[in-house]
Symmetry: C2
Subunit: 330 residues, 2 copies
């Protein structure tokens, strides 16, 4: 029987486990312009926090009782659409379920002959596109500049630092814990790494950025953004990609106290969502695939086996305990 994970009610804070309801409901029949898909992989994303919040955001929230929204990849098993035939591999919001029926215009093909399907949920999927457009289209690092990336070992951050490094900029990563920092230093070969769990963040950052910071790629918000505001050079740029430190609580977030620096240092802060860039996905995909093929881009994945692990995975993500893009093999 197909299995699903549904959101039973809007959580008021970091969702307790009771929010997730496991169901075994039959899948409805395929209608015209629809396909039936066996879901093989789903992705656990920081954005999920916003999808189960009633706060206005870039997309409407999941409603209580609905299958939890999630990116996924899977194989078409039945089609009543001219766009897909059984055996095609597809991606999109497939949801936390083993099988689903989707409108053909809500999903798109992926090409397992180019790369293993789950990569289209990590470095070759939204994660990779977010890193690519955020760093290369908004941030635009230049040779010789100092670039700082927070959550640098995370799914988006680890791709962003690698792309930035190829421009010849000096890259400083911020991460928490020895394992993550060793990965950034030894495997991704960043120019400097700040371990926010080891000693004073401000002193470590100061020592690694004696000439200030030209570009800050912010994956966390909160205190780290506040600190970086004091380190930015005149005319510096801040790409605001997320605020995972603020996701845990649904109470009002803490705002940066040093925002006046935006005026005195002529800073530009820019946020974005992938919605702005969907038409340019092929450009990102080309860069990411070729980097992955020639080994110049590494996409680390943290894989859990079985849909049942989703509640653990969700907690792991917001506690920062995953190493690399968090995926569930359904």
């Amino acid at each position: 029987m197909p299995r699903q994970i549904r959101m039973s009610e809007f959580p008021e804070a970091r969702p307790p486990r009771e929010v997730w309801t496991f169901t075994e409901d039959p899948v409805s029949e395929v209608q015209d312009d629809e396909v039936s898909v066996r879901v093989d992989w789903v992705s656990v994303d920081p954005g999920m926090h916003g999808w189960i919040s009633t706060k206005p955001s870039y997309m409407p929230p999941v409603q209580p009782g609905e299958v939890m929204r999630a990116f996924g990849v899977g194989e078409v098993v039945e089609s009543r659409s001219s766009r897909f035939t059984p055996g095609d591999w597809v991606t999109g919001f497939l949801g936390l379920q083993t099988h689903g029926i989707y409108r053909d215009r809500h999903i798109r093909k992926i090409y397992p002959e180019l790369a293993s399907p789950e990569l289209f949920l990590s470095g070759l999927g939204m994660t990779g596109y977010t890193a690519y457009f955020g760093m290369m289209d908004i941030g635009r690092p230049v040779q010789g500049e100092t670039v700082v990336v927070s959550a640098a070992s995370g799914a988006v951050g680890s791709v962003a630092v690698q792309l930035a490094k190829q421009t010849g900029a000096r890259i400083i990563g911020i991460a928490g814990g020895q394992e993550k920092c060793a990965y950034l230093k030894d495997v991704l070969q960043l120019d400097g790494v700040v371990d926010y769990k080891a000693g004073r963040l401000d002193e470590q950052l100061l020592a690694l950025t004696p000439d200030g910071v030209d570009l800050y790629f912010d994956n966390v918000g909160g205190d780290i953004l506040d600190l970086l505001l004091t380190r930015m050079n005149y005319k510096g740029r801040i790409v605001v990609c997320g605020g995972i430190s603020q996701y845990g609580e649904m109470t009002p977030s803490k705002g940066p106290q040093n925002l006046m620096r935006v005026v005195t240092h002529s800073l530009k802060m820019q946020g974005f969502t992938m919605k702005d860039y969907m038409s340019r996905v092929p450009e990102a995909l080309e860069v990411l695939i070729s980097g992955w093929k020639d080994g110049s881009l590494i996409f680390r994945q943290h894989i859990l086996d079985g849909l049942d692990h989703f509640p653990d995975a969700y907690e792991m993500l917001f506690a920062g305990r995953n190493n690399g893009k968090l995926l569930i093999k359904v």
Copy 2:
């Protein structure tokens, strides 16, 4: 005897009156490449707050015992520079004093045959340039958009709203008190005015911006910036021109809690200082002079008579009690 106002020590909070010391010191002798100037007008600016703070900023602070920094206009009375002759009118950081000696490259000519000299401290000076570049080069309002300006009746705000209105955008001004709001509504003919001293700001703003806000020109920071973050449309722009609400205290400022909106709504926040634009002053001056001549731009000035009024003027500025650009006739 020439008179000066000096800053006696760095204040720790909003400067008490004892910070200002009145002196009567002779002016030194004019050296090569210097001119002696009789200072006729000085300008009282929000930026002064930063100039007497030890916090790193876009220019070094005034040192204890030095004549307080201020923009001024005056007439050259003696010259040992090939660039100026007695009778020329000049502007620059002339300081709070009746007479001063300046290096020729630190001042520049103004043209009293075009407009009365004090206008080069208000609409035809830094104030006007700041409004022009902030609104027209960074903000770039477009016909049909909704533009909100805080401190809209202030020196920069009142020029910014008039420039924006000429683009055909819908302009909503925020100001405090009946007199200021009446000025914005009746004289500058804005499309809507929010009086933050009369009733709930959020409700007034919501009623006047049913379709959200495309561009917010922020002169105040603090709670009003935080509120506007919740009203911005997707891909909205915020021009950060100042944070006068945060100037009063030198304790850490309050940061906006809704900064995550920058991500979810794909917002761009940009700060600037006039340093970025000095090479483009002629462009601004042309627009501002022609608007002033044909009556399409009004520059309101609040004039106090005599240097002795500076401590009052400074308090008046940060209490928002001035109506228009605050100037002192020396």
